[in-house]
Symmetry: C2
Subunit: 223 residues, 2 copies
């Protein structure tokens, strides 16, 4: 069985968990805190980042969330998530990059720093200017999701794709950390609430990061 090295608020591990659930791939979770810089983990992955996934029986270690998602897309046929024409596949991958890189850099990474790392690792108070900047950028990203959902049922087109999983993974972490103000974003909120009721999402919503509590609406599937 696959063993996934991750921590509860790693958005890239969440994307991979959603993909594996949607494809009915069995896996177990192995807790890895990258900020502890464990030697054994660096031996597996020289960048020291989560997720890493290992299949001991098959002697396979896979690294980098996008590389791992492509691997499962190529090896497991059920519920294809990077599908359609080459142009549609390029659109899916463009949006995955937008959420993995831009949304993460603008929103998720600063929220993780201010509300998780500073609390449980650095023991510092959060910087409210950084929080406000992240929330303002989150609002711009929600505008873009609203625009996409005005034109398409799912982010990359007519069917669910890895773009939706990547976006939902980032949003779920930002929402856990109190960084998302949904008001005025009915399209994004509607798209996300559909997601929250999917079976693949339930383990994420039920999980808690020690020392960091989410707002009440976070795991309410009707919110």
């Amino acid at each position: 069985m696959w063993r996934l090295y991750q921590f509860p608020l790693c958005p890239f591990s969440r994307k991979l968990r959603l993909l594996m659930s949607e494809k009915s791939i069995r896996f177990s979770l192995e807790r890895e805190n990258p900020w502890e810089m464990r030697d054994e983990f660096f031996l597996m992955n020289p960048t020291g980042r989560t997720p890493v996934i290992q299949h001991a029986e098959k002697d396979i270690v896979l690294i980098d969330s996008r590389a791992i998602c492509e691997y499962f897309e190529e090896t497991v046929g059920k519920n294809p998530m990077i599908n359609g024409t080459a142009a549609r596949r390029a659109e899916i991958r463009r949006l995955v990059a937008l959420f993995d890189e831009n949304f993460y850099g603008d929103v998720t990474a600063p929220l993780l720093m201010e509300r998780m790392t500073k609390r449980i690792v650095l023991r510092e108070a959060p910087d409210s200017r950084n929080l406000r900047a992240a929330m303002r950028l989150a609002d711009e990203h929600l505008d873009y999701i609203d625009y996409l959902i005005d034109n398409r049922p799912w982010l990359a087109g007519s069917t669910m794709s890895l773009a939706d999983l990547a976006a939902a993974a980032q949003l779920s972490v930002a929402d856990y950390l109190g960084g998302i103000n949904w008001s005025g974003h009915e399209q994004a909120r509607g798209w996300y609430s559909t997601f929250k009721s999917r079976p693949s999402f339930q383990p994420l919503l039920a999980e808690r990061m020690e020392g960091v509590q989410p707002p009440k609406h976070y795991s309410d599937i009707n919110a």
Copy 2:
């Protein structure tokens, strides 16, 4: 024909240019300075980043260097660069991410800030501490390339792949900006010099960024 929006020292555009040359895909270059934040460019790509590639006759616009590389890999059979078993393809993509994200963040991005953006956009002096930090991290990345080339002829295995193109693209920009000290890295230097003599590399080596001069060894294919 494809029209590629880029600027001479964009490492992601360089990766794409190498891929297209290796696959004999014809394209023209369109100069785009992302720091000018041109409205028309943001309308094409909401992240405002290069490269973007357009095929006016086919009404296609593609965004994000990795998504574009995958697109050409899927649509143009010549010289496959993400090939082999699913595990080998995962290894190629892991290394592409390592160079696109880690090498870029550690080395190329700070060098571009200190030696290009500060000179031609901000009109500030470079910060020598940032330069030293980038060069120290470059040295660690070269150690890793040495290690890979000790074990394999090309970065991801027995044949050239997108991993080599991604690494060479980042290294070429860092080398242009004087951030690479090759001494003590014979394996990496040997691998890179093979690259420098490939026809796909010649247009990159001949090109200059206005206001920023490379060191003498940069375009010397025997250095």
